[in-house]
Every structure is written in structure tokens, then in C-alpha cells.
Point group: C2
Chain length 341, copies 2
Amino acid sequence: MSKPYVLGVDIGGTNTVFGIVDARGQVIASDSIKTRKHANFDDYIAELHEGVTRLLKANDAEDKIYGIGIGAPNGNYYTGEIQNPPNLPWGPIIPLAEKVSKAFGGIPVSVTNDANAAALGEMTYGAARGMKDFIMITLGTGVGSGIVVNGQLVYGHDGFAGELGHLIVKRNNGRVCGCGRTGCLEAYCSATGVARTAREFLEVRTEPSTLRNLQIEDITSKDVYDAAVAGDKLAKEIFEYTGTILGQTFADMVAFSSPQAIILFGGLAKSGDLLMRPLKEAFDKSILPIFRGKTKILLSELKESDAAVLGASALGWEAKYRYEVPSFDHPTSSSVAEDAK
Amino acid sequence: MSKPYVLGVDIGGTNTVFGIVDARGQVIASDSIKTRKHANFDDYIAELHEGVTRLLKANDAEDKIYGIGIGAPNGNYYTGEIQNPPNLPWGPIIPLAEKVSKAFGGIPVSVTNDANAAALGEMTYGAARGMKDFIMITLGTGVGSGIVVNGQLVYGHDGFAGELGHLIVKRNNGRVCGCGRTGCLEAYCSATGVARTAREFLEVRTEPSTLRNLQIEDITSKDVYDAAVAGDKLAKEIFEYTGTILGQTFADMVAFSSPQAIILFGGLAKSGDLLMRPLKEAFDKSILPIFRGKTKILLSELKESDAAVLGASALGWEAKYRYEVPSFDHPTSSSVAEDAK
């Protein structure tokens, strides 16, 4: 194959990571730049182009890139734009695919959000290989999701489907969420949600806990995890609480798309039985009888450091937005005939 | 076209309605048989075949049926079976598509559940024409749903996706649902749910209401509707309560598949502003900001008497299960050659 690689680009709030990926999902090489260094988007694109070009040269991969896939917060698959990103210095509408394809001389580009990219990566290279119906849930600072139905990502009519972190899990007196509403899954079951649960439990309850030795406002989900692993009863209950809400909400997700699996990704997903036991118990207990025992709860099989780039790169194989490089030499009839041979 | 019609069959708990439908969605003729008359499934199929044959003859439509689409409770699109139907005398596994295709000499047959059939009907002939992403909600004795994503029905990995009537709307102290769990949407927002709300309100509260003139255990959603239309304050509040739960839950559905529209069908959907005003208010208030103002709430455009048959018939155009009629005369080489001409 003359173009055996794709380029995966993951635009995060802090870093933009990019990597050259082959058809078997090997990350040949990767590098990164700071996302927020340039207030001007064109300057950012120029630095990205420079960084990628350097990486391609060093790996003898110039002219070997089939397509570019980009995962970005609020990335819209349909328009190739980033729309109203909460954590990026540009906006409100950033014509990402167009600018990148133009910078790279017309290589096709596709864009989606980070959780959708994770789902694609899992389907192409990870735990969802061979599955046509599954849901990817990313448990990080927030709760993201990518939904696959009939082998296709669910984008919805506007490109923004799959916001399962914002399902309402508490209708009354729910916690305030970053989205401006109250009671969202994300406010309970993200890493920050776990820290909030810890603060709530420590304030309301009186049992001893090693977590009380920490500054309450500085407690992280990692602190809760460490305390639970060391046997702290209150810390374990925090995971019990978190897992139970996740399991109950997963049962609602199954009523929607009846997936073969729900696949967990992100720091919190690596909490082992502390999270998974109460999660699976609540899931089995909450699920509609006709779905019982059919949907697996799995962990991502992608290496965390590679996953974002891999996921984005999977989109590169079917990249669709291609900037038409203006041609100043109009083709002569002989060159057209040449092409047609 | 030599086969310009499809046959739509709607198997309900009481009646089985069937109709001849043309490509423009006109029901040429229809008839029905009693569903529960025969304890033996083969006898039921024989009577269905007889009734359909009579209808086809009367309309000069023999040999003009392209395919047969069947909507049935717990109908599974993948297997062509009815699996564990709650209200039918046969089971647990009924090979519906096979038996029907066999009875009709090998005409291709497809099967799905009734709410999915309604969604297909709406997409082919009704309010969802031209839409690729929408959700159909049927508000009848229960709450059913059919979800369309990327122009395709969402069947899930097992064929049973789209049970949105069983999303949990009340986590604590929810009403017991027919599915055996508690707090399902269906227990609140179906016709029976509205009647239950009426009984609850009448017991717990003290205001006067014309509903108090009725036997409390006999109150139906129709009684509540009539009272509300006549100005009864408590009856109006019952619709307020029902609409609010629907609107809040619809916001969760949008977070899943970001549909262009949610389309309502069924008796309760015809309650006008009594239901729609609180529903839309709660929906607008509950929806995630990025989806605000994008998803329409619409009413079905299909005539209720035709809708079930029309919906089922839409499946007939792409019917996939074909019973291979056994051939006892092995083809001679000359007859094969004849066929190949």
C-alpha cells in the first residue's frame, strides 16, 4: 500500500498529541504540542503542521498518510468544526477539518469528539473488535460516551449525540453539574464526582476515616482509591455509592440500544472490584428482565497513553473532509487523458 | 411493477389486523381475525392465511404481494420470532416469519415489535418522512418506543433495543411496573399510568374534583381527560404531572441519540395542550444546553386505525426472511437452462 499510515490527533485542553498509526493499530511514533499556547488558531495550526511534518520526516512517512482523524472536545463529525468548546482559547466556531486539510495539502480529515474517538479506537483495535452494538463510557474528569449502533457511531441529527454523562440520575436536590443543570451522572461518577462524594460523606457522617487526615477541599478520587485499598470503610462506601449509580444508569442505557457490551475507559475505570462489584450488582438488579445477563461490562483494552491517538486515528481510515487545493495550471486535455489511463 | 403491494399484519393481544398497502401508503383493503381464538399456533396461522387469501382475492391482489411485514409484541427482527410474549397464548418461542412465509408459498417476511413498526410507518409515510434520526413514543396501555438512528431502526445486539417505556423515572419509592421493577416511565405516563396518578392524587389530596363522583378503581385516562377539558383543576394537574415526567425523560433520550424529533402516537398523545404544554415546558427546562431548541416534539401523522398495519407493511418492502419451498422435482439440466434465459 502506498499510503499505509493514518495520523491520529487528540486535542485536549492542555496538550495536543499526535501519532503515526499503521493499519494494525501500532503507534509508529508520536509527539505533542501545547494546545493553549496560541490565541490565534492559525498559529496553532502552523505549529501543529510543523510538529507533524518533523515527526513524518523522522519516520520516513511523508506522503504515506492516508487520512487524518482528530478527536476534539465538541468536535462535530458532520461539519468538521469544533463548536463552542468549553476549554479551548478559540471559537465559537473553529473550522478544524478545513484548516488541517489545507495545511496538509489536501489530505482528507475527519473530526469527532474525544469519547466518540475512544469508541472508534476500541472498535477498531480494542475490546469492541467485532461488535456492532456497544457503548463506550469514559470515566475521567468528566463522564463521556460514544455509542455504536449497527456498527456506526451515533452522531444524531446535529453531530452531538452521546452525552450520557448528562443523563439525570437524581431528579431532586441533585448536585450542580458543569453543564449548568443538576443531577447529571457526571456530577456523581466522574473522578471529580467521587471527590465530591467524599466531601459530602465526610461532612454528613461521623465515622472515622483516614480521609479525615487530608484537607477536605483537596481530596481527589486517587486519595479515596488509596484509602479504600488500605481498607478504609468510608472510602469503600464511596466506591459502593459511585458504582451503584453507574450500574443503575447503565441499565437505562441498555433499555435504549441493547448493546453487546458497555466498555469503561479512564482512570476511575481502573479501580478494580472496588467499583466493579457494586456496579455489576446494581446493573444486574436494575436491568429489564428481557436484557438480563446479555450485556457485558468490560474494560478498555487500549493502553491509556496510546488510546486517544489510536481512537482518533481510526477515523483517519474513513476521513471524508478533503480541502481542494486550488489548481492554477488548468489541466490540458492530454494530461486529463493521461490521468484516465 | 408486477408486485405493487405489501401486506401489513399487526398482531395485537386481542385482534390481528392485516391490510394490503401500496407504495404510496394507501391501505387498499383490510380485515382482521381474533388473535386468541386458537391455542394452537398452526391453527392461528391457517386462519390468518385463509383471511388474507380471501382479502387478496376480493381485491384482485393475488400474486401481487412483494413482501409481508409483521408487527407483534416482542417480535424479533433478527430471528423472525416472537419471544416470550406477555399477552399471547403461544410460546415461549414462536417461529412467526418462518410459518407465515411457508403458509404464503415463500413470500419474504419480516417481523418487528409494534412500536418499531410504528416508527417505520412514520418514517415511510408519516411525520418522520425525510428524517434519519428520530424517536417514536407510543402512549397507549403501555409506553412503547422505536428509535431510528442514521435512517435505521435500532434493534440492538439481540433485537430488543428501544424499551424506553422502561427507563427509570423514579429511583426511590417508584410505582411497581408490569415488568416487575419499580419506577418505570410506563408506570406513570401510559394511559394506565394516568389512571394510577388519578387514584393517588384523589387519595392523598383533599381538593374537590368531579373525579370524586366516579368509582375510584374504575377511573380511566379518558375520565381524567374529560374532567380536565371540563375545567377540573385536579384533573389538569394530573396531566401537568404526566407531561412533566415525559418532558424530563425526553431530555434524557435526546442526550442519547440527539434526534431531530420525538414523535408521539397513541390515545394519550391526543390530549392536546393539557399534556403538550407541561411536556414541552419540562423538556425545554431539562434539556442539555447544546441540544436546546433543536429537537421537535411532534404528533404522529398517521390515521390511528391504519397506523399499525401501515407501520408493519413498511417492513414488507425490505422483508428478508424467505421460506424456501422444498422442490420435489429435482431440476433437470434443461429446466435450469430454461431458468437461466
